[in-house]
Structures are given as structure tokens and as C-alpha cells.
Amino acid sequence: MVSKSGSRLAEIVARHEQELVPEWLNQQLAAVSARRDLVNDGELKEQSRRFVEKLRVGLEGMDGNLDLAAPAWAGARELLDELSRTRARQGFSPSETAAFVLSLKQPLYDRLRGDLARDPEALTSELWKSTVILDKLGLYVMEVYQKNREEVIARQQQEMLELSTPVVQLWDGILALPLIGTLDSARTQVVMETLLQSIVQTGAALAIIDITGVPTVDTLVAQHLLKTVAAARLMGAECIISGIRPQIAQTIVHLGVELGEVVTKATLADAFAIALARTGRTVVRTAAAGAR
């Protein structure tokens, strides 16, 4: 392709900029994918106008190799970044987001056909070029959209990690660690660190690890649990594992997991009772409450 090849397309866009915008807008509004509940017409019009303007700038400054990374496209890229980000947040689906750029094809083709009707060769080449550019822009929108989604997922994972590892103090010297969700290596690390830190802070000699909220226990999860127990023991705190459901007890035995000397209890209440007994305490029912 020759170096000035972009300019012809740019010329046509520049000449018809005024008509292109409303035509494109009609196109977008008529489409099923127009989410008029999420974005109002004025805003959409403004976005469309700005995009056509940036498209023209990009086309004018473009060299032959149709590269979107070129500095001339910086404005268009920036606009699409922002648009894609807001749309991802507003709840647009991926195709609805991509449709913004791709729906420009038809009005643009109409204009090209009108202007280059007498030169079929130029028409074909310009059509091809505009297809490539709009497709690239469409893909770019998708990429940004995807990246935003991934950021949201990563943030939620982090939040879940923080949410799901509380250490609570049940009594003076007795800690409880209610685990919820699957235990993987990363979570075990966090769980272990928070538990050991709490042991240091509170000086607790007993910790109850409650696995009622852990959906499945496989060999790996069991190993992680045993590691946590071993680390706590090294620091001088004893661990009790509670909340072992019947199915989990079966799985543990079928898998041949050796829990060793670790004390296990079916419910947190049982474990708490043991913990109180070990620290030399008893729970006594007072007469008043007993009469109830």
C-alpha cells in the first residue's frame, strides 16, 4: 500500500463528517443492541460525534500499514478506552459494546459507494481498508472491555481472600478460625499467617479450626490443614479441628489421610467444650436459666 493511501478515506470521512454522525446515530438507535435504558441519546450523540472526529484525525495521520498503535490514533484509542470502561460498568454486554464501533460500517460504506461509484478499483481498496480499521477498533474495544472485567475479577478475588479468614476470640486463650470456601495454597498461606499472628497477639494456647464451611476436603486440603496445625503447635498452641461433616469424615478415611494426633470434633460446640475443659473451666447452668 502506498503511503498516502489513508488520505483518500480520510478525505471522504472529513467531507461527510456532518452527515455521517446522524446516520450512524440512527443506525445505533435502530439496532436491537441499543441500550437506551443505560445510555441516553444526548450522550450517545456526543460520543458518536467525538469518535468520528477522532477517526478522521487517525485516518489523516495514518501511514500505509494501518497500525492502530501509531500516535495519530491516540485520540481514538483514548476515547474507546473510556467508552468501553463506562459501558462495562454500566452493564453492557460484550457484543453491545463492540456494536458501537462496528455499526459505523454501514453509513461509512454508503458514503464510500456514493463518492467512488465511478472508480470500482479505488472503491474496493478503500472498502477493504475501512473494514480493516473498523475491525481493529472493534477488537480494541473488546480488549479493553475484557481487561476491565478481569480487573474486577482480580479485585473480587482479593476481597474474598480478606473476607474469608477472620480469627475470632471465643474466650480468654481460645481462638476460633471458621474457614469458609475451598482451601488452596494461597488461602492456606493467608490463613496460617493470620492464625499465627493472632496466637502471638492474644497469647492463646488453643485454636479451633472450624471447617463446616469447607465444601470438600481432598488430600491437598487435608495437607494444608495439617501444616497449619503443625505450625501452630510449633509456636506452642494446640489446634482442634471441628465441623467435620459425615461425608467429609468418609472422604478423609477413603483417601487415607492421616490426621495423626490432631483432635477432631464434629461440631464447634464440642470443640469449644473440650477447649474450656483443657483450660480448666467448666460451664455451669445457673438455676434461673435452668428453670426455663
Partner: protein, 128 residues
């Protein structure tokens, strides 16, 4: 040569590791402690490692050995005050020190030794 002091309290020996352990120091401690246990006829050994922040596999294994040797010499051994990072490292290294008693701090460790020796809990106080 650098040495780790071994203090005698009644029939107990108190080892407080205040510096970063290196291999030579660890083996020296091993020699010294076994000698002292026999010489002092100690019945309890308390090793305080609360100041120890870094362990490698050698130090970890030596700690385990020291504890095992004291037990062979019929002295109750308690390792106290292990830092969380050290505990995690030892577990990851597969050195969970089986058979070694542990306690959170010196006070609780002394109470544990006292109980194990069947003595009234006067020196450590009841565990809270």
C-alpha cells in the same frame, strides 16, 4: 569463641538464643547443652527462641536434635516463643519437630515443665 549462655535455675536449664544462629554456633550449643545437662543433673530444659527470626534446614534440624538429645538424657525439653515466620518455614521444610513440647512464652514453658515433673505449679503459676 562465641557461645550461647546456658543458665541454671534449680534443676532446670534455660537457654536463650539472642543472636542469629549460624551452623557453628548451633553445633557448639548442642555440645555445651548435653554436657551441662549431665553435669547439673538437670531435669528440665527450656529453649527460648523468641529472638530467632531466620532458620534454615540445618538450624531447624539441630534444634530438633538438641531437643531429642535432652529427652534422651531424661530432661523435659520445651521450645518456647517461636515466631510465626519461623514456624511456617519449619513446617514448609518438613521439620515439624515431632515429640518436642512447645509453649508460647517462657512463663508458660516453665509451667509446662513444672507440671511434667509433677511439681506443684508454684514457679510458673496456673495457665490462664
Amino acid at each position: 569463641m562465641e557461645r550461647i549462655p546456658i543458665l541454671k535455675m534449680g534443676d532446670c536449664l534455660l537457654v536463650t538464643i539472642q543472636v542469629d544462629m549460624h551452623d557453628r554456633l548451633a553445633t557448639t550449643l548442642q555440645d555445651d547443652l548435653t554436657e551441662r545437662i549431665v553435669a547439673a543433673r538437670a531435669r528440665g530444659v527450656l529453649i527460648d527462641i523468641s529472638a530467632l527470626e531466620i532458620v534454615d534446614s540445618f538450624i531447624g534440624r539441630t534444634l530438633g536434635n538438641i531437643a531429642a538429645m535432652s529427652r534422651v538424657l531424661d530432661a523435659r525439653t520445651v521450645v518456647v516463643g517461636m515466631q510465626p515466620a519461623v514456624a511456617i518455614t519449619l513446617v514448609e521444610l518438613g521439620l515439624a519437630l515431632p515429640g518436642v513440647s512447645t509453649a508460647l512464652n517462657v512463663e508458660k514453658g516453665m509451667a509446662l515443665i513444672g507440671r511434667a515433673l509433677g511439681r506443684a505449679e508454684a514457679d510458673g503459676g496456673p495457665e490462664t
